[in-house]
């Protein structure tokens, strides 16, 4: 009994202290598009090694969701968006340095392992027996997808509108959906197969990044942006399936 009581006290005590904990070392809040999750985890680790006493906190979600959070006053030091439109939306609400395009990404059709429905072309996405997953209207991948489909003149058999790119990958990887269109970088480490999109149809996604100004951490935020643009940063991005401009 006594042991349990001590344990409970310890847990309660530490949770109280965690609730009131100070920011030491400096915390840098980086918001990054969902498609950057893997790449930016590595950028974060490398940056923390290079710059001592910095704790980078990575917040990943769809760029539209992140932009909405910034508009709503969320604390942010760096914003890396998957399209320029969502970046502009955030920049209307809070001042950022001029954005720099640090990565580009192209599109690919993904199918579950083994390609059970034999999806080979963009036209196949219109087939009745091919269930296609995509994202909600404002998520960048959906805009790029719509642009690609419009160019191809294809009406895809969408069955679900996920909240972000990861949602599309999950639905396809688990075989709930038969196909989806995501970024080439999403193929890295995912349990899916890629079906190439003809280059004349490919839409290139451009990723802008910028540091928020008017913050005591603005200098540090700029260092993070510079690091992402550096040779080290590019190497990480390329290893994760992005193209560095």
């Amino acid at each position: 009994m006594r042991g349990i009581r001590v344990a409970v006290l310890a847990i309660v005590g530490s949770s109280l202290m965690a609730g009131c904990g100070g920011d030491n070392p400096t915390t840098l809040r980086v918001m990054a598009a969902s498609s950057l999750t893997g790449a930016f985890a590595e950028v974060e680790a490398a940056f923390e090694l290079a710059v001592p006493d910095v704790d980078v906190v990575m917040i990943t979600s769809s760029s539209s969701s992140l932009a909405a959070q910034i508009v709503d006053g969320a604390d942010v030091d760096v914003f890396a968006s998957a399209d320029e439109e969502q970046f502009e939306r955030a920049a209307d609400a809070r001042t950022f340095d001029p954005p720099r395009v640090f990565a580009t990404n192209s599109l690919v059709i993904i199918v579950p392992p083994g390609n059970p429905r034999d999806v080979r072309t963009v036209d196949d996405l219109a087939r009745d027996d091919v269930l296609v997953a995509t994202a909600s209207e404002d998520v960048p991948i959906r805009r790029y997808t719509d642009r690609l489909l419009a160019m191809a003149g294809v009406t895809a058999n969408f069955v679900t509108f996920e909240a972000n790119v990861s949602g599309i990958v999950t639905k396809v990887a688990t075989g709930a959906a038969d196909a989806g269109i995501v970024y080439v970088s999403d193929l890295v480490g995912a349990d899916v197969e890629g079906v190439d999109v003809p280059s004349q149809l490919d839409v290139v996604a451009r990723y802008p990044i910028a540091a928020a100004t008017n913050s005591s951490r603005a200098e540090l935020a700029r260092r993070f942006v510079d690091f992402t643009m550096s040779a080290d940063g590019r190497a990480i991005l390329v290893a994760n399936g992005f193209t560095a401009p």
Partner: protein, 267 residues
């Protein structure tokens, strides 16, 4: 009625209770204060809002009914039978209540989903799929909502006076008849409360639904998913939808008056 309750809490307790009330009310005051009221009518009349509301109503009522049909027998067994592993069974059946709904959704995906343990056979043999269909929404809702009914009904059955049901049995009633005509009426308050709680939980379900059933207008985009989707593109609409959900749930819970909560009133 005005006589003071014999167990009236001391002043400090009443102060703490007041703080709690403020804690629960404040978020709604904030919501109501920020909501563009003129848009409340839009969200129940525009096509996308109407579709989501209608879908949520249909699925949550069905989920509540299924919870009664399957949950009451389970509660009956749990309350009256003694067998080894009963506590384990109970824990397994109630765990979805405390689980993050997303975890429930993932588990459903790997069991009843299209390539899941059972789901693959359903698809192969009958061409039937829970994923991306309204049935998937109902299953996700039942999964997270039924425990509320089971817990409420089991508690009432444990406290119910068993002598009446025994008397009915000695007079020749079958177990079903005695349960229906004697036991159920004696716990009707708890049964209604449990059903309403299960319905409310199903109505508000989000995480398991979007993970398991997906998000498509008219078939799987429920009111809570509609609210979430709107938050990114049109916060005003999202707030109006939130007010609608709060309003509906509030009206339903107000009808769940305290006498249904099965408490002995000492007046």
């Amino acid at each position: 009625m005005n006589r003071r309750h014999p167990d009236r809490p001391p002043r400090a307790a009443r102060w703490l209770a007041a703080v709690t009330v403020v804690f629960f009310c404040l978020p709604f005051v904030g919501l109501l204060w920020k909501t563009p009221w003129s848009r409340l009518l839009d969200v129940v009349t525009d096509e996308s809002g109407r579709r989501a509301l209608w879908l949520s109503m249909r699925t949550s009522v069905l989920a509540a009914l299924l919870s009664v049909v399957f949950g009451v027998p389970l509660a009956w067994v749990l309350a009256t039978s003694r067998f080894r592993g009963r506590n384990l069974i109970r824990a397994l059946c109630l765990i979805s209540m405390v689980l993050p709904p997303v975890v429930g959704g993932i588990s459903l995906l790997f069991s009843l989903g299209r390539t899941g343990l059972i789901g693959r056979w359903l698809d192969d043999w009958f061409g039937f799929r829970f994923t991306f269909s309204s049935w998937g929404v109902v299953v996700a809702q039942v999964f997270v909502a039924m425990p509320f009914l089971v817990l409420t009904v089991e508690g009432a059955l444990r406290q119910a006076d068993t002598r009446l049901a025994e008397a009915a049995r000695t007079l020749g009633a079958t177990p079903w008849y005695a349960f229906r005509r004697v036991t159920i009426p004696s716990i009707s308050g708890a049964l209604i409360a449990g059903t309403v709680l299960a319905w409310a939980r199903a109505f508000g379900e989000f995480g398991a639904t979007i993970t398991f059933a997906g998000n498509y207008p008219g078939t799987t985009r429920t009111l809570s998913i509609e609210t979430y989707v709107a938050l990114e593109s049109d916060p005003g609409r999202s707030m109006a939808l939130s007010v609608l959900m709060v309003g509906i749930s509030f009206v339903v819970l107000v009808t769940l008056r305290d006498r249904w909560l099965g408490a002995e009133r000492s007046s």
